[in-house]
């Protein structure tokens, strides 16, 4: 009896590892292949016989995408747009999240539901009017305008995620500070924000990644060099110049590098915030 249950347990463990290895291969295999491709010479990519391991490792593709295209400009634009988006969301969203988490007021549930419903609006439905609006005020092809457009779906997400972290921060310290004579503002800035620091970082990183990756709004709302972000630039390069696979792969690796690094640093807190927000929502 004991033996069979132990052997059954062992079989289960082995099966678990087999399943996890298979899924991880499915997830990482494509990324690994793109990385290998980015290190290959053109002769190793375009072959009649598939070359799995590069015969010579070259960084030529990285040099090519960085020096022979406007990739640095695209990356810089993306950095600026992402930064502005995060700043707007943090400044306005933190206040809203705090109000949702700590201050009871009439219509709170309705407003919170409203923030959630915003996610149901088709991007296309918002993009077209936004384009017309921004054209009238001269914000088409502007990095600020694009960041403003991103807040349409990232600000509600940020507020909901951060609210979850505020909910988790203990209320007692805040009450103590209030008893000591601190104003609500003082308690918020000196007590609650530091307590929810990890959550603030995780929520910010989450929307930073989303803004960095965004493609459809950027395609519609940017028309020239001045504000074009890397996803749009890379996509247009593929269409215009028949970009060689190696160079395209190098561009892909470079552009996901910040995402992977940020994700690795804050994944635990981010996962926590995401699941909390989604399950409650």
């Amino acid at each position: 009896m004991l033996k069979t249950s132990r052997s059954r347990r062992l079989a289960g463990d082995i099966l678990t590892y087999v399943v996890l290895t298979a899924l991880t291969t499915f997830c990482l295999g494509p990324i690994l292949w793109m990385f290998l491709t980015s290190l290959k010479t053109e002769a190793d990519i375009v072959t009649s016989h598939m070359q799995y391991i590069p015969r010579t490792i070259t960084f030529q593709n990285y040099v090519a995408i960085w020096t022979q295209s406007n990739f640095p400009v695209l990356i810089a634009n993306s950095l600026v747009v992402t930064t502005i988006t995060v700043v707007i969301c943090v400044l306005t969203g933190t206040l809203a999240a705090y109000a949702f988490a700590r201050l009871p007021f009439k219509g709170r549930d309705k407003i919170m539901l409203g923030y959630l419903l915003v996610r149901m609006f088709p991007a296309v439905m918002v993009i077209i009017p936004l384009y017309v609006m921004m054209r009238t005020v001269g914000l088409v092809d502007s990095r600020f305008g694009l960041a403003l457009a991103y807040t349409s779906f990232l600000l509600p997400l940020f507020a909901w995620m951060l609210k979850g972290f505020f909910d988790a921060a203990p209320k007692e310290l805040e009450s103590a500070a209030r008893i000591d004579g601190s104003t609500r503002l003082g308690a918020m800035v000196r007590i609650v924000l530091p307590l929810a620091r990890n959550g603030l970082v995780a929520s910010s990183v989450f929307i930073a990644i989303a803004a960095w990756n965004e493609f459809i709004f950027a395609l519609m709302l940017t028309t020239g060099q001045g504000s074009r972000t890397w996803p749009v630039g890379l996509q247009l390069m593929v269409g215009e110049f028949q970009l060689p696979w190696g160079v395209l792969a190098a561009g892909g690796i470079l552009s996901i590098l910040p995402v992977v690094v940020l994700f690795a640093i804050v994944q635990r807190a981010m996962v926590q915030g995401l699941t909390a927000g989604a399950i409650k929502g």
């Binding site: 678990t16 996890l20 598939m50 960095w212 929502g281």
Partner: protein, 310 residues
């Protein structure tokens, strides 16, 4: 006491003023004001404006054409062959992708929830695709499935499943299925993440009690795991349906709706109508229809699953 002390030391600057304001009942509105204004400006107003555009003629290429046309775009849509194809493809694309993603996500979550050594690392690695940009994901898979250089073709030929390389995205028979595979790769970690959180919330005692009562793993799964996860599954599915219906990114990068209209979906059709043809009126009408269909679906779905009743 201390407050008086602070007041006398600090000059009555804007900070003190804000601090005093935070004690009044206006404080909460002040906190909400910036984000509300912003959302009214970039979401509420554009949405209303979107409805208006859908009953107007608006083509940026022909500024002369302007004015109210009433239901014209909606009537035209009824006899638009591409609209119906897109509607059908959207239904297939979303249903198939969600079915695969839920299955893979569930398998991953159950495996990760066994908490064996190393599962934490696996959990992080499996999550990665969800955070990668659609543009890169699209081109990466285009390379993997390339008709001349694709490594997946090579592997399938080596194993003996295929006799020659296949142009997955160019063949109308396989194009939609290939894009569903890419979407599943991109989206299943989302379900794994939520299901894992749900599984962790099920008390261990329930399983122990069931085991004492003689329930085997299969019955435990059917009688405990599935019912306990129902809310999470329902919530995750609706969130995913919304984002799948709404985002044309991946298909735009992979196929652009082709070959023919084999992978054309509503969101992509609406986007291309606006972006390529600058026919904002018709594109607006298409997205309004999409929005209404999504709302209908969400309402019925929530009724059926009682997601909001927790």
């Amino acid at each position: 006491m201390r407050r008086d002390h602070m007041k006398s030391v600090l000059p009555r600057g804007p900070i003190t003023l804000l601090g005093n304001l935070s004690e009044t009942r206006y404080w909460v509105y002040l906190l909400l004001f910036p984000s509300l204004i912003l959302l009214l400006l970039v979401v509420a107003y554009p949405t209303l404006y979107g409805f208006v555009i859908s009953v107007r003629e608006m083509r940026l290429t022909r500024p002369g054409l302007n004015g109210w046309v009433g239901m014209k775009h909606y009537v035209a849509m009824m006899s638009d062959r591409v609209f119906w194809i897109s509607l059908k493809n959207t239904a297939i694309w979303v249903t198939a992708a969600i079915a695969i993603e839920v299955t893979l996500g569930f398998v991953a979550a159950v495996a990760l929830n066994r908490n064996l050594p190393g599962t934490k690392l696996f959990g992080v690695l499996i999550l990665l695709p969800y955070f990668l940009p659609n543009v890169v994901a699209g081109h990466m898979w285009a390379l993997l499935l390339d008709p001349r250089l694709g490594v997946i073709n090579d592997l399938l030929v080596r194993i003996g499943i295929l006799s020659t390389y296949k142009a997955w995205f160019a063949d109308p028979a396989t194009a939609l299925a290939a894009t569903i595979l890419v979407e599943a790769w991109h989206g299943f970690p989302f379900f794994a993440l939520l299901f894992l959180a749900g599984l962790k919330g099920i008390p261990e005692d329930l399983y122990k009690a069931a085991a004492v009562d003689g329930a085997g793993p299969v019955r435990q799964f059917r009688l405990i795991t599935v019912p306990m996860l129902k809310t999470v599954i329902a919530a995750a599915v609706i969130l995913r349906v919304i984002s799948l219906v709404n985002s044309p990114d991946l298909l735009l990068v992979l196929t652009g709706g082709g070959p023919g209209n084999a992978t054309q979906v509503l969101s992509l059709y609406a986007f291309q109508t606006a972006y390529r043809e600058f026919n904002f009126g018709y594109a607006g009408a298409l997205s309004v229809v999409m929005f209404i269909l999504l709302m209908l679906f969400a309402t019925i779905y929530i009724r059926l699953t009682h997601v909001t009743k927790e």
